[in-house]
C-alpha cells in the first residue's frame, strides 16, 4: 500500500507541476469564468436567484468592504496553514487528510499551554507557547498513522481519515472533562473554557475582524518559500519521486515520509492554535469546520508552491464568504462545497491534460 500511495502522491505532484506562467494564468481565468457561469446557471435553475443578484451579493460578501475582506483573510489563515503543510508533504509523496483530527488535538494542546500559563502571563509568551503546543498536539495525533505507515505499510490516506472519525468522539469526551469544560452552567453544549483576554490575538486592522494570526500564516508562507529553495526540498522531491533512488542516496525515505506526515500534522496544529487564539477563543467542536479537508484541496489547487497555496486559500475563503452571504438570498450554502469540489476536479483535469502533452 505504501507504494500505491507513493505513486498517487507522485501523480498529485505532477498534477501540481508547472508550465509557463502566462499559459497557466490565462487558462485558469478561462476555467474560472466557465465554472462561474455554470454555477450561476445552476443557482438560477434550482433556486430562482438571478445571476446578477448572485454575483453582486457574492462579491459583496467576499470582498465588498473592509470587513468582508478581513473576514476572508481570517478564514484563509488556518486554511493556508493546513495547506502549506499539505503542500510540503505532497511533494514527498505523503497525503495527509487527517487535518480535522490533528487540528482538534492541536487545539487541545494549545489550550493546555494557555491554561498552564494562566491569565497573568504576557500575551506574546502565551501565543508562542500555544502555537508550539498546538504544533506538538497536531503532530502527536499523526504518530499512529505515521507508525502504521512506516511499520505496516498502511496507507496514511485511510488511517488519517479514520483518525478524524475517532477524534469526533474523543473531542466530545475531552470537552466534558473538568480540565477543559466550560464551568458556566448555562453552557450546555460541548465547549471548553474561554481563554483569558490576555491570550486573545489582537486585531491588526481596526474595526474589522482581522487578527494577528494572519501574520503567522504569512510567516509560514515565507518559511515554506525559503524552504522550497533549499536543498531540503530537493531531498523531499527525490523521496516523493523515487523512494528507491532516495534510499540509495542516503535519504531514508521511510523516515522522511514519517517526518513529513508529522510536519504537515504540526502545521494543522498551528492552524488550530491560531484559530483558537484568534477566532474561537475556546475549544469547540466547530473549531476545525472542515478546514482540515479543505486545506488539502487548497494545496492541490495551489500547485505545490507556497505562494500558490496561500493564494488558493484566499480564493477558497472568498468563495466561502461570498457563498455565505448568498444565503441571505436563499441560496443553500452547500453550493460552496460543490464549487470547491468542481474547482479541484477541474484543476486535476487540467494537470492531466498538461501531463499528456
Amino acid at each position: 500500500m505504501t507504494a500505491v500511495v507513493a505513486e498517487s502522491a507522485d501523480a498529485v505532484e505532477i498534477a501540481a507541476g508547472g508550465s509557463s506562467w502566462t499559459w497557466r494564468a490565462s487558462r485558469a481565468v478561462a476555467v474560472a469564468v466557465g465554472i462561474t457561469a455554470a454555477v450561476l446557471l445552476l443557482v438560477w435553475l434550482v433556486t430562482g436567484v438571478d445571476p446578477a443578484t448572485t454575483l453582486t451579493q457574492f462579491v459583496e460578501g467576499s470582498v465588498g468592504d473592509s470587513r468582508a475582506i478581513a473576514r476572508t483573510l481570517v478564514r484563509a489563515t488556518p486554511l493556508a496553514l493546513v495547506g502549506l503543510g499539505a503542500t510540503v508533504a505532497i511533494r514527498g509523496g505523503v497525503i495527509n487528510v487527517g487535518g480535522e483530527g490533528q487540528m482538534a488535538i492541536g487545539a487541545i494542546g494549545a489550550v493546555l499551554a494557555v491554561q498552564a500559563l494562566g491569565s497573568g502571563a504576557p500575551g506574546l509568551l502565551i501565543w508562542i507557547a500555544a502555537i508550539v503546543a498546538g504544533a506538538l498536539g497536531g503532530a502527536a495525533w499523526a504518530i499512529v498513522p505515521a507508525a502504521l505507515a512506516a511499520t505496516r505499510g498502511v496507507s496514511e490516506i485511510l488511517s488519517t481519515l479514520l483518525m478524524n472519525l475517532i477524534t469526533v468522539s474523543l473531542l466530545l469526551y475531552l470537552l466534558e472533562l473538568p480540565l477543559f469544560a466550560d464551568p458556566n452552567p448555562n453552557v450546555i453544549t460541548p465547549q471548553g473554557k474561554p481563554i483569558p483576554d490576555a491570550a486573545v490575538l489582537p486585531t491588526i486592522w481596526p474595526d474589522t475582524a482581522l487578527h494577528a494570526g494572519v501574520l503567522v500564516a504569512i510567516a509560514a508562507m515565507a518559511g515554506c518559500w525559503w524552504w522550497q529553495r533549499s536543498p531540503g526540498s530537493v531531498r523531499v522531491d527525490l523521496v516523493g519521486a523515487n523512494p528507491n533512488l532516495a534510499a540509495q542516496s542516503g535519504l531514508r525515505p521511510r523516515r522522511a515520509r514519517t517526518r513529513l506526515l508529522l510536519v504537515s500534522a504540526a502545521f494543522a496544529g498551528v492552524a488550530a492554535a491560531v484559530q483558537l487564539l484568534g477566532v474561537s477563543l475556546r475549544v469547540t467542536t466547530g473549531l476545525t469546520g472542515g478546514i482540515g479537508y479543505t486545506g488539502v484541496l487548497v494545496a492541490v489547487l495551489g500547485g505545490r508552491t507556497p505562494v500558490g497555496t496561500v493564494a488558493a486559500a484566499v480564493a477558497f475563503a472568498a468563495l466561502v464568504g461570498g457563498g455565505e452571504s448568498l444565503e441571505f438570498e436563499g441560496v443553500p450554502r452547500s453550493i460552496v462545497v460543490l464549487v470547491q469540489a468542481v474547482a479541484v476536479i477541474v484543476v486535476a483535469l487540467g494537470a492531466a491534460r498538461r501531463r499528456a502533452r
Binding site: 469544560a181 458556566n184 448555562n186 453544549t189 477566532v279 476545525t288 464568504g321 455565505e324 441571505f328 462545497v337
Partner: protein
C-alpha cells in the same frame, strides 16, 4: 473564574421576573405596526426536526400572526466552523437590513459576544447571556423541564397502554443539555410511574436515522414499551422502528415530529419559541431594545407538551385528559436542576 460560574444563576432569577412582568417597557411611539425584518441564524438545517426547526417554525408562525414581520433564515452555518458562525453574525449585522438578529444556538453566542458591541444600534437575541452588550437580549430553555415533559409523556405511554415494561430515552451525542433533559426525564418517570425502569441510550449523533432506528429497535427488544427521543434528522428512524414493533408507543420532541410520522407519534414535547416573538416585536417597535432575559419554562408554557395527535387519541384514548391535567398543574411543578460537575 468562580465568579463567572456564580453569575448566571442570579441572572436567571431576575430573568424570571422580567419574563413574568412583561411588558415592562411602555411603548415609546406609534410604531406598533412598523414592518419588521428579522434574520434567524441557525447552525444546522432549518428542517432538522429538532432544535433549529423549533425556532424556525416558531418565528415563522409568529410572523404570520404578526402580519408585518418578515423572517430570513440562514441555515447550516456550523458547516463553516467557528469562523463561519462568527462571519454569519457579522454579515447579518453588517448588511443593516434587519431590525432583529436571532442567533439561535449556543455555538453562535461567541459571535454575538464579539460583534454586538460593534453594532450598538442593532438588536440581537441569542441563547446565552452575553456580558457588556446592551443590545443583546437572551432567551434560555430549561432543559430539565423539557426532559420532565418528556418523562411525563413516556410514563403516560406506559401507564395508559397498560404495558409492563421500561420507558426509554433515546439521545444523540450525549451532550450536557441532553444529560439535563435526562435528569428531568427520570424525575418525571419516578413521579408518574414510580419504580419504572428508565433505559437511556445515546447513539452518538442526532443525524443518523439508521443508527437511531436500530437503537430504538434494540431498546424495544430490551423491554422498552414507551419511548421518547431527542433526535433531529435521526428521529424518522425511531418512528420507523416504532411502527414496526408491536405494543410500543412513541413520543416526539416537537410539533414537526408529528409531521415526520403522524401515525406513530402520539404527542410531543415542545419548546414554543413563538412565545418569545411578541415580546421581542413589542420592544422593537417601541424602540426600546434591552438586554432582557426570557426563560422558556413550564410556568410560561414556553416548554410544554402538545395535544395528543389523532393517532394518539386512537391508541390511548385517555391521553388527552392526562395532558390537560398536566398542563393545568405545570406552573406548580418543581423540577430539580442537574448539579453541575466539579
Amino acid at each position: 473564574g468562580s465568579d463567572e460560574a456564580a453569575e448566571p444563576a442570579e441572572v436567571a432569577e431576575t430573568a424570571a421576573t422580567v419574563a413574568a412582568d412583561e411588558p415592562a417597557d411602555e411603548p415609546a411611539d406609534d410604531a406598533a405596526t412598523d414592518d419588521l425584518s428579522v434574520a434567524l441564524l441557525v447552525g444546522g438545517p432549518r428542517d432538522d426536526g429538532g432544535f433549529y426547526q423549533a425556532m424556525v417554525d416558531g418565528l415563522e408562525d409568529a410572523a404570520d400572526a404578526d402580519g408585518a414581520m418578515e423572517v430570513t433564515v440562514i441555515e447550516n452555518i456550523a458547516e463553516g466552523g467557528d469562523a463561519g458562525l462568527e462571519a454569519a453574525v457579522q454579515n447579518a449585522a453588517d448588511s443593516g437590513d434587519y431590525d432583529l438578529i436571532v442567533a439561535h444556538g449556543f455555538d453562535l453566542v461567541p459571535g454575538v459576544a464579539r460583534y454586538a458591541p460593534d453594532y450598538p444600534d442593532q438588536a440581537f437575541v441569542t441563547s446565552l447571556p452575553v456580558e457588556g452588550a446592551d443590545n443583546v437580549a437572551v432567551y434560555l430553555t430549561a432543559f430539565e423541564e423539557t426532559g420532565y415533559n418528556a418523562g411525563f409523556l413516556a410514563a403516560q405511554g406506559k401507564l395508559l397502554s397498560g404495558s409492563d415494561g421500561a420507558v426509554g430515552f433515546l439521545g444523540g451525542p450525549g451532550l450536557p443539555f441532553e444529560e439535563q433533559a435526562l435528569f428531568g426525564f427520570e424525575q418525571a418517570v419516578e413521579q408518574y410511574a414510580p419504580g419504572t425502569e428508565v433505559v437511556s441510550v445515546f447513539t452518538g449523533t442526532f443525524e443518523d436515522p439508521q443508527l437511531a432506528q436500530e437503537t430504538a429497535t434494540q431498546m424495544f427488544q430490551q423491554g422498552v414499551v414507551s419511548l421518547w427521543n431527542q433526535q433531529a434528522a435521526g428521529q424518522s428512524g425511531v418512528y420507523q422502528a416504532c411502527a414496526a414493533t408491536e405494543g410500543v408507543v412513541c413520543f416526539g420532541n416537537g410539533i414537526y415530529s408529528e409531521a415526520v410520522s403522524p401515525d406513530v407519534v402520539l404527542a410531543s414535547t415542545t419548546s414554543d419559541y413563538g412565545k418569545l416573538v411578541p415580546l421581542w416585536t413589542e420592544r422593537l417597535r417601541a424602540g426600546e431594545w434591552s438586554p432582557a432575559i426570557d426563560i422558556l419554562d413550564l410556568t410560561n408554557d414556553g416548554t410544554s407538551v402538545t395535544d395528543a395527535t389523532a393517532a394518539g387519541l386512537e391508541a390511548l384514548p385517555d391521553l388527552q385528559a392526562a395532558i390537560d391535567d398536566y398542563r393545568a398543574g405545570a406552573a406548580d411543578l418543581v423540577v430539580e436542576t442537574m448539579p453541575t460537575e466539579g
